[in-house]
């Protein structure tokens, strides 16, 4: 470890704000980029599930029966 104390890490001899801002923004962008597709996937699969259930209900089947849908 190069720095002696947590305060020194924070301050970085005056360059702290710049360095931490850069890392912070980068972390923010990475998290956003990770979360967006995950959220979209979850939303999609939930939509597919409800659609499926509605269709199964309409056909008077339980969702267990529909499990062996043929591969397309």
């Amino acid at each position: 470890m190069y720095f002696e104390s947590a305060a020194a890490v924070w301050h970085m001899e005056g360059h702290g704000p710049y360095v931490w801002a850069a890392y912070g923004i980068t972390a923010l962008v990475i998290i956003l980029m990770l979360v967006m597709p995950l959220l979209r996937s979850r939303q999609m699969s939930r939509a597919i599930h409800t659609e499926e259930r509605r269709r199964d209900l309409a056909q008077g089947r339980t969702s267990e029966e529909g499990q062996h849908a043929p591969e397309a």
């Binding site: 190069y2 890490v9 970085m12 360059h15 890392y23 980068t26 597709p37 043929p70 397309a72």
Partner: protein, 243 residues
């Protein structure tokens, strides 16, 4: 080899492949990013000229390098989709653009932040910075074009054409921006020489570059999966996959 390519082109197979890869890649990449950052931020020695502000290099350079490579990945995907009409290539191209744009954005913003303590200005019209900005524009163009089409199949084809044209142009752009800079007898601002970097600074940098490549792959795969869920919501394989 061909069977592998063939398999990659089939959405069900790719979906399963991506699911497995993501399961391994996600923790690995996060760990590598964390380790590299801690190493670069806390353990690497400061630069003798720039002091601690140089620690930004551990995100700035990896982001810049991967962003540049990303454009070629996108163009290759475009070529594959135009020539061999493989649908997954469309999806890949669609997925690369926002990731590449985000990484370019990171490179630009961290560079701008770095510039303030180093050069006293948020922005300088250095040749390399300028060409990075143009790369950002190229990504934004592809994204805007994709947005503008309603029909996603047509959108992918259009973006493929655009990114191929861009690829032909990138070397010319880079060269021309270099000449532009030398034409105007640049101000006394210079990047630090690249060969001067010490091993204790280099290793964390290499680790971070690797981690960013992994991050790129991870983000692209995640985007592709989300895209597949959207476009194949009617197909039986996806429904059985989700149970």
């Amino acid at each position: 080899m061909w069977t592998f390519v063939h398999k990659m082109g089939s959405p069900p197979w790719f979906y399963r492949f991506a699911t497995i890869v993501i399961r391994w890649l996600l923790p690995t990449v996060l760990l590598a990013l964390l380790a590299g950052s801690v190493w670069g931020l806390l353990y690497a020695p400061p630069d003798f000229r720039q002091g601690n502000s140089y620690r930004i290099i551990y995100i700035h350079v990896p982001a810049a390098v991967v962003a540049l490579a990303g454009y070629y990945v996108m163009a290759i995907a475009g070529l594959v989709s135009l020539v061999w009409k493989i649908k997954m290539a469309d999806t890949a191209m669609r997925a690369v653009a926002p990731v590449g744009a985000a990484l370019t954005f990171v490179a630009l913003v961290t560079g701008a932040i770095w510039g303030k303590p180093t050069w006293g200005a948020w922005w300088v019209w250095d040749a390399r910075i300028t060409s990075m900005l143009i790369l950002f524009f190229l990504y934004l163009g592809v994204m805007a074009l994709f947005e503008a089409y309603d029909d996603k199949a047509a959108a992918a084809k259009a973006c493929a054409v655009l990114s191929l044209v861009g690829t032909v142009n990138i070397p010319i752009i880079y060269k021309s921006v270099d000449w532009w800079y030398s034409l105007h007898q640049p101000a006394s601002i210079k990047f630090t020489g690249e060969s001067a970097i010490d091993a204790s600074m280099l290793y964390p940098l290499l680790l971070m570059i690797g981690a960013f490549y992994g991050l790129f792959a991870l983000l692209v795969l995640l985007n592709m999966k989300a895209e597949l869920l959207g476009t194949h919501r009617q197909s039986a394989w996806l429904r059985s996959e989700l149970r």
